[in-house]
């Protein structure tokens, strides 16, 4: 610490250093450095797309306009993130956090992450990668011979179908499966996953990892249920998958014995 404080007091600057901005933690920076990578800059990708008028009110089955708006917003934001990354000389973006908000009239997508590159490299690739995985997961993937490519995503919005009056009356005192909603939800979930998978394939991926699925009724249109799925598309770079053999760690700490005041009064 004394060395560090003294160097600051002496105003020591290293002329080869350049300004860097990064939202990585100290641990993540160290881990990336151990792999031969360094942060370059904090980069952003944003897109806002319009949803057709009446899309939530008059739909039947799957609603096309909100789904298209979601996909357009994510793909546009993602390509802007790549452009920013390439502009600062990054080879890819790690730890991308996605803010997706679906409003009645528009879909907002904001991506933020840290552009990284191999230490000292000044020749960025034509197509930088985008990864929603943490630096730790990036390190694990690299160790296994895989590389992230981009964000894979899909969305589906379904209008929960109603039974006709006669069926509703007939089933009012029965415990029965409601086949309409079951089928609609099944189809919508599958559609979201399928679109995500298709977007991964379009990037040239062999798989998608770290998939996150969100679902539930839209707050502004309770009769519509939305599904979104997104993950990181990955591709095998090495000749074949490298098996990781983790060391097994068995902590030998004693269990902590805690003092329990209640026990003194005989309540336990």
């Amino acid at each position: 610490m004394l060395q560090a404080v003294t160097s600051l007091s002496q105003g020591v600057h290293r002329p080869d250093d350049r300004a860097v901005t990064s939202d990585l933690t100290v641990d993540e920076s160290l881990l990336l450095h151990a792999l031969g990578w360094e942060p370059v800059d904090l980069v952003f990708g944003v897109s806002v797309t319009a949803v057709q008028a009446g899309a939530w009110t008059w739909g039947r089955g799957q609603l096309q306009s909100p789904s298209d708006a979601h996909n357009l917003a994510v793909s546009t934001a993602s390509s802007r993130l790549r452009q920013e990354c390439a502009a600062v000389g990054g080879h890819g973006v790690v730890g991308v956090r996605a803010g997706v908000e679906i409003h009645p009239r528009h879909v907002d997508v904001a991506l933020v992450g840290t552009a990284v590159r191999p230490i000292g490299s000044d020749r960025p690739p034509v197509q930088p990668f985008v990864s929603g995985l943490s630096a730790r997961d990036f390190a694990l993937l690299a160790a296994a011979g895989w590389s992230p490519i981009g964000l894979a995503f899909g969305a589906s919005f379904v209008y929960a179908p109603r039974r006709d009056a006669a069926t509703a009356l007939r089933q009012s005192r029965q415990n029965v499966e409601l086949t309409n909603p079951t089928q609609a939800l099944y189809a919508a979930r599958e559609a979201a996953m399928e679109r995500m998978q298709a977007s991964g394939l379009a990037l040239g991926a062999q798989g998608v990892v770290g998939v996150q699925i969100a679902e539930g009724p839209m707050t502004f249109a309770r009769h519509v249920i939305g599904f979104t799925a997104r993950g990181t598309a990955v591709r095998l770079l090495a000749g074949e998958h490298r098996t990781i053999t983790p060391d097994i760690v068995l902590p030998l700490n004693d269990a902590v014995v805690q003092f329990e005041a209640e026990a003194l009064r005989g309540r336990r």
Partner: protein
């Protein structure tokens, strides 16, 4: 009180009392002692700013017209209606512009509170301030925002005085600070920036934000991007980052916490505000290369 006025009497009394207080947890406190950092006091700075003038009302008249002066040197982008004259209420032009006067007010409030915190630290002979927290919030239901910075002043026994007598500062403390120094970085200062961009919608933005993709977008496909709003939100983020970069020299901004707020004012009209906080750090020695990490599985 000036931006860096005298330390208030109550604060001086507390700081001279002979004992110290700190905002550190027991873990952080132990780690700091281990690193050779001796806490000498809890230091803080405040600044209450009136916060009401958001309108396109700078003295330069920016935002009043796309043909108006572009004073202030901030980001500005104009959008023009493609339809010709339609009617008196038709928005024939739109504009994205950086609200430099809002950013100036934020910077004034933050800097004043920050300088006052450092002044308290200086008064107790501290080398640095660690574990800084900063908040800005509305005071009750008023147009006043209070900036509050708080941290723990520390001394490094045997170290020379900080440059120009101004203590260094960091959002980090405890084990995370220890790891940063071990990695070869020394904190220089906390850095916080804010960018504000106003969207003054033109006809197409207004229409699309109201769910009007049916008209224009239907002819182009099923949906469309609202370019003016996308551009504004991206610009606000980039402006916040560039403001921070200008303060860095050749240093690194570590562990950035980024946040963005969008406030819709009307159909398509909105204000985008982005804040960015981090610790400016300087490399004082080469990285000691870590061995490649080995994955482990915990049996417990």
């Amino acid at each position: 009180m000036s931006a860096a006025g005298d330390v208030p009497e109550a604060a001086s009394r507390r700081l001279e009392s002979g004992s110290f207080s700190s905002g550190l947890s027991a873990t952080d406190f132990s780690a700091c002692l281990q690193m050779g950092l001796r806490p000498v006091g809890l230091v803080q700075g405040f600044c209450a700013m009136q916060w009401g003038w958001y309108a396109a009302g700078s003295s330069l008249g920016r935002g009043l017209s796309p043909f108006g002066p572009s004073g202030g040197g901030g980001y500005q982008q104009n959008w023009y209606c493609p339809h010709g004259f339609v009617g008196g209420e038709h928005r024939t032009w739109g504009q994205n512009f950086e609200q430099t006067w809002v950013e100036d007010a934020w910077r004034t409030g933050f800097s004043a509170a920050f300088d006052r915190m450092l002044e308290e630290a200086e008064s107790v002979g501290a080398h640095g301030v660690i574990g800084v927290t900063d908040t800005s919030r509305h005071l009750a239901d008023t147009r006043v925002i209070e900036f509050h910075l708080l941290g723990t002043a520390v001394v490094v026994d045997g170290a020379p005085s900080p440059p120009a007598g101004t203590p260094w500062s960091t959002y980090l403390a405890g084990p995370r600070l220890a790891k940063l120094v071990e990695a070869g970085f020394m904190p220089v200062s906390v850095v916080a920036t804010m960018a504000s961009v106003r969207v003054w919608a033109y006809c197409i933005t207004e229409f699309l934000m109201e769910g009007g993709a049916y008209g224009w977008a239907a002819s182009m496909g099923s949906t469309a991007e609202i370019e003016q709003v996308s551009e504004a939100r991206l610009a606000a983020r980039v402006l916040a980052r560039e403001q921070a970069r200008r303060q860095l020299g050749s240093d690194t901004l570590q562990g950035i916490a980024f946040s963005a707020v969008e406030r819709e004012i009307g159909a398509g009209d909105q204000v985008v505000e982005c804040t960015l906080r981090g610790t400016r750090v300087r490399r004082f020695k080469d990285f000691d290369p870590l061995p490649p990490p080995r994955p482990t599985v915990r049996l417990s």
